[in-house]
Symmetry: C2
């Protein structure tokens, strides 16, 4: 069930030539504010601006030559659409991207810019899944799910693996949780490369399906998704949930105002651009900061793709 | 006249414990766009968010114990006000800051946050100079000019010194030019630590006093200052101008639209926050990019203090 240490190590070696070993930044202001010593792993500096590049690259690299010739397909309107497009282009593979017809033009343009072949569908999840299936059948392309795919999870694990290689004595690693691919991957690296380290997820109250899933023991959904953290609106899957259930210590939920405040702190104090989803992990730490006093805490800043024309502050 | 290599090296050793050795970032997108290989020295990640921390720290560290006890004074409404306040606090020294009464509250708050003691004056340069003189007389504090001070220039030189230590084979180093303290300091490090490297200044057409000063051989002023690069509205001084005249190869002027475009590129593509003045150096490179094709170019990103509520895009 749980991928092995050897599998995580193999993923690290596999993706290394294709992704950035992103920098780890510190902020004395945020250390003082939180009482913890925070190590920010900057996936916002990753190629195409998000950790998703890691999972997409690892998944494509695991395909056979015949599979590569037929291409890959996914449905996503977010960072994974861009990540799969760029990872595929880097490896000489075709990427078919199913996007809802009402997706923002700027996101469609980004996918096109990375060479993705866009097919538009209605915006229901049934419609986009049907469209992806049709493409699979017609082209023989391999479907790669944005978060519920073992090789995507293993690729995502490489960020925390790098972080723990340079900072092996972390007490905690925080990530945001949406579809669960980053949280699951991170928990694997924490298990295998941490000394005495725990994995914690940050999640908006507005879409707290992962929190409720850990409580109920089965995958819960969200009725609404009124969060600014647009990367976290999806829910867990049958491949990542068992990993999260076994390896993640807890999920801390945060209010929308806390997300915006954390995002503003990162922008103003660290001078780096992160998307709202990334700020959720810091918001979770700050919400419960008393518990993490004097601890060494890694935070995966998951991405930096924001619309500068539409900022929450 | 021109400070010696030994003086620059001494400044490097002197400020080292008090400033960040800021990271150097690269962007494959901007390399492709420019045709050059660009190494961005990120002073926006410096303490208080700008290179000015280096000069302020070096200047205070050169004072005698008696001078330190009496404090330091400057007039500035920009980054140097914050830099001198923080550098002074770090060294247990009082900092008196003369700010125009109409300076934005956010800037006054920042200075107060770093422990600076603010005196307000009318916003003319005569009024603020008189106020600084009054404080000098009353307190015995030492006046430190934001850019036209040998020890400030030597401190500023340490950024390019670090950049050239990690990348000794740069062909060019670009900085913005306003008061001339960064450009002069950078040209010293380029002279002493570069292999075959040249220093180039970027300057807005709207305040092209440095460009005209190099042409006429004397310090020129600006009649107006309608530039978004608010850190570059000041003019050269009698201490930095001789250094610039001897060591700076040229100054490239840029339009306001080019500054905003370069700033947006850095934000969107590098996911880092820089102030408009910093973008002037990249704008200068991009304006004349044909000349710098296949060259290794360092760019000092001078600072990242912007008002997020007032962005030009």
């Amino acid at each position: 069930m749980i991928p092995t240490k050897r599998e995580v190590e193999a993923a690290c070696n596999r993706v290394k030539p294709y992704v950035h070993n992103t920098p780890v930044l510190k902020s004395s202001y945020l250390n003082e504010l939180s009482g913890a010593e925070i190590f920010f792993k900057c996936e916002n500096f990753q190629k195409m601006g998000a950790f998703k590049m890691r999972g997409a690259t690892n998944a494509i690299l695991q395909l056979s030559e015949a599979q590569k010739r037929a291409g890959v397909v996914t449905h996503s309107s977010g960072n994974f659409a861009q990540a799969l497009s760029l990872a595929a282009r880097n490896l000489g593979v075709k990427a078919y991207i199913v996007m809802p017809e009402n997706a923002p033009q700027v996101k469609k343009d980004a996918v096109k810019g990375y060479g993705g072949i866009i097919t538009e569908s209605e915006s229901t999840s049934t419609a986009r899944e049907q469209e992806a299936e049709r493409i699979q059948k017609e082209t023989g392309a391999t479907f790669i799910h944005p978060s519920n795919d073992k090789n995507v999870i293993l690729g995502n694990a490489t960020s925390a693996a790098e972080l723990l290689e340079s900072h092996p004595d972390l007490d905690y690693v925080f990530t945001p949780v949406g579809g669960g691919g980053l949280l699951a991957g991170t928990s694997l690296s924490v298990k295998y490369f941490g000394a005495s380290c725990k994995t914690i997820g940050g999640e908006p109250f507005e879409v707290d399906d992962a929190f409720r899933s850990l409580q109920s023991g089965k995958i819960e959904l969200n009725d609404t998704a009124n969060t600014i953290a647009d990367g976290l609106k999806t829910f867990l899957g049958d491949i990542n949930f068992p990993i999260i259930r076994e390896l993640v210590s807890e999920i801390i939920r945060v209010e929308e105002t806390e997300i915006i405040a954390a995002m503003k702190l990162i922008w103003e104090r660290m001078k780096i651009i992160v998307e709202p989803s990334s700020a959720v992990a810091l918001a979770a730490l700050l919400r419960d900061k008393e518990r993490f006093k004097n601890k060494k805490v890694g935070i995966i800043l998951s991405g930096g793709n924001v619309d500068l024309k539409n900022l929450p502050f």
